[in-house]
Amino acid sequence: MPERVAKTGNDAAAYALKQINPDVVAAYPITPQTELMHKFAEYVADGDVDTEFVQVESEHSAMSAVVGASLAGARCCTATSSAGLALMWEILYVASGSRCPIVMPLVNRALSSPINIHCDHSDSMGARDSGWLQLYAENSQEAYDNVLQAVRIAEHPDVMLPTMATLDGFILSHTIEALEVNEDDVAKEFIGEYKRDYSLIDVENPSTFGPLALQNYYFEYKKQQIDAMDAARDVVLEVGREYGELTGRDYGFLDSYKCEDADVIMVGLGSTMGTAKEAADRVRSENGIAAGVLKVRCFRPFPASEIADALSGASAIGVMDRSVSFGLGGPLYHEVRSAMYGSQTPTADFIYGLGGRDIPLGDLKDIFVQLDEIRKEGKAEPDVRYVGLRE
């Protein structure tokens, strides 16, 4: 029987890592990820896992160590946040380019400066072009479920790409919630065995790793990565379905809440989407606004056509961005606009929660009221709005 437990998001992700029992984990502490690896280190010390746990001197080294181990055929995990991800930057691309199916919980945190330990999505958004898959979680349950599924998705022979499973710093990582965890043998069977076709240490069948590829071959390597990311679409869905059969919790690219009959739809990522669902129910009963919520669970690969389909019936759309591409605007907004190319539906960008600023239920209700006004006016002016910002 699955067990219902109370855990923080960090503990939930660490529990998934325990059940994965990776061959190698290398990590360096950074708030708010620290307690995740702290917990995992306890599992190592208590003999609950067989993992070779490498305490490295930086995140650059953490990612380098798991790339090396992954090429040798090991199942590898690490975890980080914010500046830790930034320091991994160079090796993030080495991991995806070398087709290392590393799984990494990323506990979302703002980037300096000014220094800030709280949640926004600047870290993962900055890495959106690094060739890693990205799954976002609404709550600790999804954080746990996503980490387990990430292993299957990343290691699928058609994919072989690294995957980050993100969870909002503090809002999820340090919040205790009820969730259901699988029995160890159920989780183990779901994840299965990992066997890499070519191994760095298979001396009988020597292969080349990390080669130089200039004008002659580099482009072909990148096209293979593009194809693998495309192939991941079917795998994300297939693994999500299988996980649903196992646990009763289905996963896809998107989580559509009351969008079928909605006039106005809010699109977004992560923990805010839970509060948004509550806000949608409130404005439906209190303001008579037919509100819906479209949560983007899988941001890479980006499910453009599925998003366009889900939003096709809406008369006004609001996209929630917890990060900014300076000089452009919210990254999710621009990708949703691109997915909606040709559509005349007025769409506004709501930039919120940078550096962990709280997004109260009341603000989300107000956004639905604004969207209803946009619907009536038939245009979104201004099209970029800042939520909870002191003027």
Partner: protein
């Protein structure tokens, strides 16, 4: 307070008084009792003695919201000096409750804060903690008092959780002291 409501609790304390642990433990007890719960401290620049806040939500339904608690049903104050320096009562709903760790009576607290229509509970949690645990850490006493206010769990469920959480860390004497503290909290809490 009926136990089938959505209860939102805000904790006010000073760093070192165990509010984070208490907020989390109430959630753990509630989950063990079959309810849904959520608990989080507000993280800032923590230091011992500084005012801090923490949040607990308890509900029979799944809890979807992830914002701070602005309109609590219950406010728990672990350090009564905060009644002067902080707006601890901010946002308390009209039929809400305030629970304060103090030697004073509920009537005396009401004289200071007003809060008409709300129920005020008091308990000398620091005194009980000193007698039962030997240290002025009021959090387990306040857990007992809070659960008797909200009816979210039975004393036995709290005792179970104390055993599970601290069984490996505390001596048998300290464990029993904590359990006595919770029991006394339920008996000695005053209200008006």
């Amino acid at each position: 307070m009926a136990s089938n409501e959505f209860v939102q609790i805000r904790w006010h304390a000073r760093g070192g008084q165990g509010a984070k642990t208490a907020a989390g433990m109430v959630a753990e007890v509630a989950v063990a009792a079959g309810k849904n719960a959520q608990a989080a401290p507000e993280y800032g620049a923590e230091r011992e003695g500084a005012p801090i806040k923490a949040y607990t939500r308890i509900s029979d339904q799944p809890i979807r919201v992830h914002d701070a608690i602005y309109f609590p049903n219950v406010i728990v104050v672990l350090d009564e000096t905060l009644l002067r320096s902080e707006d601890v009562e901010e946002g308390l709903v009209e039929d809400g409750s305030l629970l304060v760790n103090t030697k004073r009576s509920p009537a005396e607290v009401r004289q200071q804060l007003g809060l008409e229509g709300r129920t005020i509970y008091t308990i000398d949690a620091t005194g009980i903690a000193l007698e039962e645990i030997g240290r002025p850490i009021p959090n387990t006493v306040m857990i007992g008092a809070l659960l008797s206010v909200t009816g979210a769990a039975e004393v036995e469920q709290i005792e179970d959780s104390i055993h599970k959480k601290f069984g490996a860390k505390l001596s048998e004497g300290m464990l029993q002291g904590n359990i006595n503290a919770v029991r006394r909290a339920c008996e000695e809490i005053k209200s008006e």
